[in-house]
């Protein structure tokens, strides 16, 4: 079985700045692997544990994304590919670029990705890639219930229910925070892959359908207010009255 895991490097938190050119400035913020992509990679590795074959981890990013790819190799992936592109591709462009890169790899049976990236929060990448490839896709996967060479049985956690679906391969699944915690890299694999050479695919020209015309930081949070009162009971009364008045209760 060949599984491709699409991963993305994101800043650890969203306290990003916006520079004079309206670009997001993440300097000084630790880059990490997108949380949901860690769960997606774990799903890929557990399928690989069961069926063997290859797990290719692929990321559209910059040179420093190599660290996340090497870490993925240390976790258990068998191959890694970095895809680079000029500028800032939007989701549709990113999907096109990744689709072209996937076309250069061995045919895949399963593609996994996180349900969304914690930086842009679009949650569109997985479904859009599946649509472009003409593949079945399943979103909000939290567990692989069972797997065979031809089918996957997947648990989806939805807002009001949990459902189990059975789908034929090939399939693209987007994975949420699941029951199985992502594994840690073992030191033997850290030693083996810390300096691994990762092949790079340079994307061709692309045209964004949408372009960012402005970026502004979120409005600063209003300062809190300390409620005065003679005693705790009267302070709580005032607080509750205010919450009711503000329709927070």
């Amino acid at each position: 079985m060949h599984i491709i895991a699409c991963i993305k490097q994101v800043p650890r938190d969203n306290s990003v700045a916006i520079d004079a050119n309206k670009r997001v400035d993440v300097s000084g913020i630790e880059p990490i692997l997108n949380l949901f992509d860690e769960y997606a990679l774990e799903a890929a590795l557990s399928l690989n544990d069961e069926h063997g074959g290859d797990v290719t981890v692929l990321s559209l990013g910059s040179d420093d994304t190599v660290d996340q790819l090497r870490r993925s190799l240390a976790m258990g992936a068998t191959n890694a590919v970095l895809v680079t592109a000029d500028g800032e591709p939007d989701v549709a462009s990113a999907v096109g670029i990744v689709q072209s890169a996937i076309a250069t790899l061995a045919a895949a049976d399963v593609i996994v990705c996180g349900r969304n990236a914690t930086d842009d929060e679009s949650a569109a990448f997985g479904p859009m890639l599946a649509r472009r490839m003409g593949w079945t896709h399943v979103t909000y996967v939290t567990k692989i219930v069972s797997s065979s060479a031809t089918h996957l049985e997947l648990e989806r956690s939805l807002e009001d229910e949990t459902e189990v679906v059975k789908v034929p391969l090939p399939v693209l699944i987007s994975v949420g925070k699941g029951a199985v915690e992502p594994r840690f890299p073992s030191l033997l694999r850290v030693r083996k892959y810390a300096k691994a050479e990762v092949p790079v695919i340079v994307a061709g020209a692309y045209t964004n359908a949408a372009s960012v015309v402005d970026r502004v930081p979120p409005a600063a949070r209003k300062a809190g207010e300390i409620i005065a009162g003679a005693d705790v009971a009267s302070k709580v009364r005032t607080l509750v009255d205010r919450l009711i008045a503000d329709q927070a209760l």
Binding site: P185, S186, L187, L188, V190, A194
Partner: protein, 418 residues
């Protein structure tokens, strides 16, 4: 800010990925529970019945290779170097001391000592399963009436055919109720003072061995500390580590390894206190500004940075010397002295920055303070380290000539070979 950046004169990509791995491990496996574990140690004691979290964590560390980090693959190790051990200890103690203590006693004091002094059979029997995390090792030198003055120990080992019969008690033993094997010291010839001490590898399963937990410690309450007792315990001759009478030298070299882990951990402790303080100093406002804008708060943060960077450089220098196979007693004791005292002072400043909140366990800094105090005492007191530096400087103490068994220098190719 990445406080660990720009140490590439010592560290490489392997160390960076190791650091990330250990940090993730500590944040995922320890952070969510550490307050409860620490509280439970204070409220319910440190007996094995309340310390059920320790062995599963150690087993996970073993599977990941943490417990054999700086040993050759042929002994079950990960084949990394001694600097990797420092990175491991830093990141564990950045979260809490109790797992760094595991690294200190299991890797530093026990396994490294067997690696240095053990014969091939002992390495295969004890070092290999310990490096693989299948057995847990600890160390017993201190006794109720002998600490810094280790030569005053009263434990005895009397030769009886192809066995020794050990009697005595060791105290302040980390993992006393959990470890499977212990590197311990006893006098085979009490008339010879330090030259009459010998070293043994003993097993919990040996008849005559017992252990007990200590209660009411100031810090490291998530761990297990206690005493071990030998009562007419028969230990096979093949479990003697080194020659008869060589025990004091072995104990001192073990401390060169153990103090290195304590020093590295203390650097991580400073970083934990610093990071908590920086976050709080930006969030907390007084007089209309974040408290980080006040000069005296800045001074405390600056001092932490200075002490952390100096400590890290001293520790990495020791690690570099260990990698090169150079004796490093002076450098390691200097690093241990500086880093542990600085860790205590930095945690104290961190509590001060947090004000009244720092006085409660709602924030981690009071735990950092309690944990840091122990490092100023164990594995060589602050005062001992201080005296050693003066003695080295004045030439009144010199390193012993080449030991019969030196800690092996790091050999990347050989250590990575299966």
């Amino acid at each position: 800010m990445d406080f660990t950046a720009n140490y590439d004169m010592f560290l490489n990509e392997e160390h960076d990925m190791l650091r990330q791995t250990v940090r993730d491990f500590a944040e995922r496996e320890v952070a969510p529970n550490i307050r409860a574990w620490d509280r439970s140690g204070a409220e319910h004691g440190e007996g094995p019945e309340t310390r059920t979290h320790i062995r599963p964590l150690i087993e996970k560390m073993g599977k990941l290779g943490f417990l054999g980090i700086c040993f050759p693959a042929k002994y079950g190790g990960a084949g990394m170097d001694y600097l990797a051990l420092a990175v491991l200890c830093e990141e564990l103690e950045r979260m809490d001391s109790f797992l760094r203590v595991v690294a200190s006693v299991h890797v530093g004091l026990n396994s490294m000592t067997i690696f240095q002094w053990g014969n091939e059979a002992q390495k295969m029997k004890y070092l290999k399963p310990q490096a693989e995390g299948k057995q847990i090792g600890a160390y017993g030198l201190t006794e109720p009436n002998s600490g810094t003055d280790a030569g005053a120990m009263t434990s005895t080992a009397r030769r009886d055919g192809d066995h020794y019969i050990l009697n005595g008690e060791k105290i302040w033993i980390s993992l006393s109720d959990i470890a499977d094997t212990f590197v311990v010291f006893a006098k085979t010839d009490p008339s010879k003072g330090n030259r009459g001490i010998s070293c043994f590898i003993v097993e919990r399963s040996m008849p005559g061995f017992s252990s007990y937990p200590l209660h009411g410690k100031l810090g490291v309450r998530a761990g297990n500390t206690g005493g071990i007792v030998f009562q007419d315990m028969r230990v096979p001759v093949e479990n003697r580590l080194g020659e008869e009478g060589e025990g004091f030298k072995i104990a001192m070299t073990a401390l060169d390894s153990g103090r290195y882990t304590v020093a590295a951990g203390a650097v991580g402790g400073i970083q934990g206190a610093l990071e908590a303080s920086v976050t709080y100093a930006k969030e907390r406002h007084t007089f209309g500004v974040p408290i980080g804008d006040h000069q005296l708060v800045k001074r405390m943060i600056s001092n932490m940075v200075r002490k952390m960077d100096m400590g890290r450089l001293l520790v990495y220098k020791s690690g570099w010397m260990k990698n090169a196979g150079r004796r490093n007693t002076r450098e390691t004791t200097l690093g241990k002295w500086h880093a542990t005292v600085s860790s205590w002072e930095s945690a104290d400043d961190a509590v001060q920055i947090h004000g009244a909140y720092g006085f409660s366990d709602e924030y981690p800094v009071e735990r950092f303070l309690r944990n840091a105090r122990g490092g100023v005492i164990y594995e060589g007191t602050r005062e001992l380290q201080e005296l050693l530096q003066a003695d080295f400087a004045m030439g009144t103490r010199e390193l012993a000539p080449k030991l019969r068994c030196e800690l092996p220098a790091y050999n990347k190719e050989a250590w990575e070979a299966e």
